[in-house]
Point group: C2
Chain length 436, copies 2
């Protein structure tokens, strides 16, 4: 008979992409896991095995692990924190308006975790977004509680891509663990080693290096995307065709063609945020990562130049109607967080443009979440009377757009297609001006 | 009997890395080729089958093709230009002080090429460094000669790495050809298709796109290197170990670990130059590539910060002795063009530091080529009485440096090893401070 070891009592705080992917993964590996979520509607939905965002694989596995009892969803209360052996913190930790860390939830959790004397002290694992030096701050919070000093603290940043949250949790390119002392990481290493094949590298380092790895990886990806957007801008200005330029550059194996496709800039919940957070001086010194500043600056310049170009093509912007097709931050998802199309819509509204936005993946909603921008109920409503059409996201559904269909609705045949989604020959033949 | 076609008469202008690699490659493929070189000492050396720089494979193949008569080396004169079918221009085309193009040699060549009426007009292929819009300028030069209008003009930039000039010419990741009209490229495509396997992609595009591809590829590589140097700077400032940080970032397959190793910044004859030239407004509009500015700025900041750190560690710089080990721009070569170690030496001299430089690959020379910096004849001379030692290039030979050997010569045990070449444990055990 095999030797039986008791599974650790696992708590995952936060039922967003990161928290749920972590929890569902561990539950599916046979670790009984509890998820804490403060939003009671989300708690109810998850208990009914319904995922509150679009992640097909995660949704399927969620059904299974809620069904077989390995995953439990609860609302916040102190007791589970005081029983858990491993506590993964995956809350939405940074304020997206001020780029400052939300300190109160960490203070509350530290108080709960450190409030009771434990025979075996727990291990706390930060998976949320961090700024450089924040883990030390959480350590200080724990140290200021009656029994928090004994808790171990680790940082293990996530590297998952939206739409592939569970896939990337199951098949990571690497796992990073930051610890004050290497031995502190043992409980987490044990779980990772049981859950992952030997080929998955585990990079063990200190807290700040682990914080940096996460922020720097996203900054690099943003920096890379800023580069190809800059090249695309020059090509647009000079009337050059981008495709052979992109090939000529990216065929160098040291450069590569992957993650090297331009559009309206980089958006989403990770890259713009981490380019800001890597330069946060909230808990670190004054070192400035120029790479992050440049990525952000090139990203902002792109929309500014687009608006100037639109202005010159329409002979003024005030009162003109512009239809934006696609509001999500990447193709074929329904997430508009830090979407470039939304940012563009907001900038156009400031110029007194009448903006109408349509996104097939946000069907049935009235406004774009987290903004007050209205959504057109149909593509026809969005296009009717438009002086210009701007592709806002490279949704596959837009590949079937037809010049005839759009030509009958707009008052001026002008399309900005920075994603290169439409066949310019076909559209130009139908009298459209296509800006790529 | 097979059908015999006459080989084109090929002229390659310039016997530097690019010109010779091109010429030797074509000669070795069976195309009788003539190289034009204005420096008569180089002409004499090449005729005696001696290469004037360090490229082992190229040197070997040069012997063969000079020996079998497929490669001829001549000094400039009009006639060969007026007989050649294909003229590759690979001269040193940009001034490294002013970052301006050297226009006179192009004017002279255009005059020679366009000076006579030809039955079959020649094809001119620019392989040299270009700035954006320069090919159009060469076209204008040709058009202003009696018969230059008929000559075809192509741009086919090289992507070879120093030390591997022939290898990279024989096995390119891609071949780029810029032409005014696609048909113009036919003679060159024919040669490339006969010389390369089908798997080598040929990217055909316009002049300016081809110019951009070259400059942008090098700018991207510099931009990538600037990023890892920036990360290394932060790690140094915070006392973090770089190796796990680099792993944690580079293990993302979209980022990668290749071409991602820090040192004293990026140097050499290509990357710093192309970061300047991509923003040259000599023949283009005012668009600014922020990526190039950032790469250059981060590269410059690194040496500035190094000098500040050295200043604080030595309690002042004036009159101190600093030994720089390695002056080449990359490991195990003898080329010091745009070497970071040389730049550092120049900056230290301005601070009244007594700098001594040693490089095993420049043995027997008195000064560093293209500068007036003296070279120490032996490593002992360089180290004697030094207050600090700075590794200037990651030459393999330095791996065998011993703390005992250096400890007996220096007056202060401080080594800056930004390349991570030395084993810090061993050196620290011998009382050295190692800054990585």
């Amino acid at each position: 008979m095999p030797h039986m070891t008791k599974h650790p009592d696992i708590l995952v705080v936060g039922a967003g992409y990161v928290g749920l992917a972590t929890a569902v993964f561990l539950a599916d590996k046979g670790y009984p896991t509890t998820v804490v979520e403060k939003n009671c509607e989300i708690v109810e939905a998850l208990r009914r095995k319904r995922l509150h965002f679009h992640e097909p694989t995660l949704a399927r596995t969620l059904k299974k692990v809620v069904g077989n009892g390995f995953l439990t969803i609860i609302q916040p209360e102190p007791e589970p924190y005081q029983k858990a052996d491993l506590i993964f913190i995956a809350i939405d930790s940074a304020n997206r308006r001020t780029w400052q860390m939300r300190l109160e939830p960490f203070e509350q959790m530290a108080g709960w975790i450190g409030g009771v004397k434990r025979r075996v002290p727990p291990t706390v694992v930060l998976k949320s977004t961090n700024v450089l030096g924040f883990t030390q701050h959480v350590r200080d919070l724990l140290d200021n509680t009656p029994h928090g000093k004994e808790a171990k603290l680790l940082v293990s940043p996530e590297f998952l891509r939206e739409g592939l949250a569970l896939e990337d949790t199951v098949h990571p390119s690497r796992v990073v663990i930051g610890a004050l002392e290497k031995g502190d990481a043992a409980p987490l290493v044990k779980i990772y080693r049981s859950a992952y094949p030997e080929t998955v590298p585990i990079v063990q380092t200190d807290w700040k290096s682990a914080e940096l790895i996460k922020l720097a990886a996203n900054t690099y990806l943003a920096y890379r995307l800023a580069f190809i957007h800059e090249i695309a801008e020059f090509a647009r200005l000079e009337g050059l065709e981008l495709a052979p330029i992109r090939q000529g550059i990216g065929l160098d194996p040291r450069i590569g063609l992957g993650y090297f496709t331009p559009g309206l800039g980089f958006g989403g919940s990770c890259l713009p945020k981490d380019c800001m957070l890597i330069n946060s001086n909230e808990f670190k010194g004054s070192f400035e990562f120029e790479s992050a500043h440049t990525a952000t600056a090139v990203n902002n310049r792109l929309l500014k130049n687009l608006i100037e170009l639109l202005d010159s093509k329409l002979g003024g912007l005030k009162g003109k109607r512009v239809a934006i097709l696609g509001a999500a931050f990447k193709p074929d998802v329904d997430d508009t967080r830090d979407s470039r199309a939304v940012r563009l819509a907001e900038l156009l509204l400031k110029e007194k443009v009448q903006v109408s936005v349509f996104d097939p993946h946000l069907h049935g909603r009235d406004i774009i979440p987290e903004t007050e921008l209205p959504l057109a109920p149909t593509i026809e409503t969005a296009l009717k009377g438009a002086h210009a059409v701007i592709i806002g996201a490279a949704h596959k559904k837009f590949l079937s757009l037809k010049p005839q269909q759009i030509g009958g609705l707009v008052v001026h045949r002008l399309v900005f297609d920075y994603f290169g989604l439409l066949d310019p020959k076909k559209w130009r033949a139908a009298g459209f001006e296509i800006v790529r």
